[in-house]
Symmetry: C2
Subunit: 207 residues, 2 copies
């Protein structure tokens, strides 16, 4: 699974530059819309030079997916079964929203991949992602059954968090078209806090 580590410092530098450039281009244009020429140019290399580091467009895309997976799953991973339930869930919401704000390209890369039917990421979805979600859903279900939070459907709760937070990254142009230049994230954070707080049966500020 783990790659044989690139030895030379040139390899380290160029691989990093390529992955960064590929993230930019794949996120903005999707797999089919991205071209190796464009990625190579963004990385400051020629196309054959890029192919010296990654054997094909597909291999490059797979490398990115693997490279980003842990970053992507981290916010959910951090949810602690031994923590205070409401705090843990709202903390997850907050971290995931920060992920959209600070890593919108990564969000759009995954969004593109999944929208197209996840032709390359499906194994990851059905494997690592499903395992993690099943585990955390069980945690949430236990919290719910013990009455520490209200009755919730853990899977749909998790989908909700994904949908809401990623929306601000994936559909940013639409949000901006409607909100103008206003930064949506402060309002989004307050709203998501309110929304999930209420849904979990919280006692929150009422006007």
């Amino acid at each position: 699974m783990t790659k044989s580590p690139p030895r030379t410092r040139i390899q380290v530098r160029n691989r990093a530059a390529i992955l960064e450039a590929a993230l930019e281009v794949f996120a903005a244009r999707g797999f089919r819309g991205a071209t190796l020429d464009r990625i190579a140019q963004a990385a400051g290399l020629s196309k054959p030079n890029l192919l010296y580091y990654f054997r094909s467009k597909e291999a490059l895309h797979l490398a990115i997916l693997e490279d980003l997976l842990e970053l992507w799953l981290a916010p959910l991973r951090e949810m602690d079964a031994d923590g205070e339930p409401r705090e843990q869930i709202l903390g997850y919401v907050r971290r995931k929203l920060e992920m959209s704000r600070d890593h919108p390209r990564e969000s759009r890369l995954f969004a593109n991949e999944i929208l197209q039917g996840a032709p390359r990421a499906r194994p990851v979805l059905e494997g690592e992602l499903k395992v993690l979600v099943d585990e955390k859903a069980a945690v949430i279900a236990a919290w719910s059954e013990s009455g520490r939070i209200g009755p919730v459907d853990p899977y749909h709760l998790i989908f909700s968090i994904w949908a809401l937070t990623q929306h601000y990254a994936d559909f940013e142009v639409q949000v901006r078209a409607i909100m103008g230049k206003t930064d949506p994230y402060p309002g989004a954070e307050a709203w998501l806090d309110h929304l999930f707080g209420a849904a979990l049966g919280i006692s929150h500020k009422t006007t």
Copy 2:
């Protein structure tokens, strides 16, 4: 704005077949990923024949966007300022979820377009969509200020509804990867009802 109506019945039939095929292909592969050959084949025509009806790929895509716009906005349009606020908002949620269930291709078509930065749809977003959203946000804000629903941010409320309902269509493969063969929609409807009901300050069933 309105098209000069295609006169002959052949035109009517073929234009419809092309739009249907193009919806299928654009939704599944995005604008760049779609090819005229594939669309033509799905419509049962040759590529030059398709180009006899639509002057270019771009023109075809624009025609679809225009064709689908009213369908797409209808659920929000139906929200009635004179209705009972909670009922109106939850009704909107329900209609929008039904839209995802019954028209997932349309949802993915728009998702693709917006993800890529809405190069063709931006005028619509900043025009017709923004006007409609501003109008309905004002209605919701009035409801909120009059105390008929709890304090909400109308824009983020609307974004939430879009994000949550469209998620089930746009990221269907991911939902299925995690939920397996279970139909997600019944659970989604119950959950969204609970979620928004709670956020609006509803008195709902508690176990």
